[in-house]
């Protein structure tokens, strides 16, 4: 059963077609890679999926709870409410807030108490705040950040900032998680650890994951299917093995790296 269907998605910036006629389909529970050379339009696809950009044409349909909802052109917070969460290529944490606050903020959309309760700090507010802390700590524990809950996000080492971004995305309780280069700037040991974390959270939270990545060791290891983007178009898709041996892919992007991966 598919969870996300993208049909003929196109985005033009002036005369430039950053993404043209991209069609994707993600099955429930799949871990799919989106790869391609720099400037291929991968992040633009993410921005279209999450509502940062409005598509020039094409449709994006999310299938959750047995209903099909078109989500193209919705505002980002609406898309998030529908169950799509993301991380950013250039880390976008709330830098001057604590690790705990970063995660708690992402839980805000499910907070039930109203403004009046928050002004007067009514019991309903206090109780729910307590629950927020407990649930945040669970997520932080998973990402091994619980001992740093009071640290400012800006003071975390780079690798932990990436982990915190994933924890924050999980806090929105998504059914589809989009990871934009989660291993960028990590060393091989950190990447290996991240690879494990990603497949673990997918099983634990029953997530569907779409990830952009340049690190071929990570992509080839954990992705079940891969879409290859070049000049805004899907030039190949299939299992890692199929993509690895696809001639167009080799020409466009992978080159020598394939054999070394």
């Amino acid at each position: 059963m598919p969870i996300l269907t993208v049909k003929k998605l196109t985005k033009n910036f002036g005369g430039l077609a950053a993404v043209s006629n991209v069609s994707l389909e993600l099955e429930q529970g799949e871990l799919v890679g989106l790869i391609g050379p720099n400037g291929a339009g991968k992040t633009t696809v993410f921005n279209l999926l999450t509502g940062v950009y409005k598509p020039t044409s094409g449709t994006i349909t999310l299938h959750t709870n047995g209903t099909d909802k078109p989500i193209q052109g919705l505002k980002p917070y609406k898309v998030c409410e529908m169950g799509i969460a993301r991380t950013f290529q250039n880390i976008r944490l709330f830098k001057d807030l604590t690790v705990l606050d970063n995660v708690r903020i992402a839980m805000h959309k499910n907070v039930k108490y109203g403004l009046a309760a928050s002004f007067l700090r009514l019991p309903s507010c206090q109780k729910e705040e307590q629950e927020l802390v407990e649930r945040s700590m669970e997520l932080l524990k998973i990402m091994k950040l619980d001992h740093k809950k009071d640290e400012l996000a800006r003071n975390l080492p780079y690798g932990e900032q990436r982990h915190l971004e994933i924890a924050r995305a999980l806090a929105t309780n998504p059914s589809l998680l989009l990871l934009d280069e989660p291993a960028a700037g990590m060393n091989p040991a950190e990447t290996a650890q991240l690879t494990e974390v990603i497949s673990w959270i997918r099983n634990q939270f029953k997530l569907t994951i779409l990830l952009i990545e340049h690190d071929m060791s990570l992509v080839m290891k954990i992705c079940e299917r891969i879409y290859v983007l070049d000049y805004g178009q899907v030039i190949a898709s299939g299992t890692p093995e199929e993509v690895r041996t696809n001639k167009r892919v080799i020409e466009a992007y992978l080159g020598e790296d394939v054999n070394n991966a």
Binding site: V52, R104, I105, V111
Partner: protein, 326 residues
Amino acid sequence: MKKLAETMRNTKSWSKLLLLVLTYAIIHLLIIFGIIQDFQQITLTTICINIILAVSLNLITGFTGQFSLGHAGFMSIGAYTCALITMRMPTIPGFILGLVAGAVAAAIVGILVGLPTLRLRGDYLAIATLGMSEIIRIVFLNLNITNGAAGLSGIPQFVNWPWLFVFTAGTILLIVNFLKSSHGRACISIREDEIAAEAMGINTTKYKVTAFAIGAFCAGIAGALYASYFFFIKPTTFNFQKSVDVLVMVVLGGMGSVSGSVLAAILLALISTFLQSFSELRMVIYSLILIIIMIFRPQGLMGSKELSLSMLSKLGSKFSFRKGRV
């Protein structure tokens, strides 16, 4: 362990309450015994009104990150509404009605102005809010009911220290509670990173307008208190200069620090009172003090930290402290 934390929280809120009651009682006694006389009471009132203005502007500018230069406009709506109502109903219920009506009117204008302008960022928003507050001033200047440039005089005077205390402490308490809640954190996340906030499910427009409305509401209260205490208001009382004054308090105290705003409001009022004996040089010295403080504390007196009881005790013992925000 959990119990210990709870007792600590209880003692903390008790000591806060004690501090509030003590502040109230001490100043009340000083007034009764005539140590704080009429002239000092004016300073006291100015301090209270400025605290309300600065803390509420800090919510908009320091915490939500929306640079606003229109606080005097909201204040004037509260002042005129309250004045017009109490002049027709010169009783305590009339004053309360006027105060609430003024605050609500200011909040409504805040929402109406906020919806279209809050999509602007930084300096553009500053210009838009500045324009808004000038429009409000010119409307009051030209209406018959507000008596134009001459303003309104003979407003029934109800405000005294208990009123001031209740509204000042109340504003601080409500805003601090709000900032500690999930809704408050949503506002703060907008300042931190608007794109990330929206991607994490925060309706950024809604929370910018909410912060704007709360700020305007409090400014309306401050205006109502002003009108009722000084019993004379005119449009120039609420000009651009007034908005800048409030902004100076927020920046001086520290963007994103409620206690900083309180501290700055008190400090600036005291400085300008002491300087009244230096008639011509007054503004020069005042400006010099501001410049010197900003050179040595560019992040404001408090930065983004909060003054708290535990912090004071920690300061006592020489250890350095690490503290997260909010």
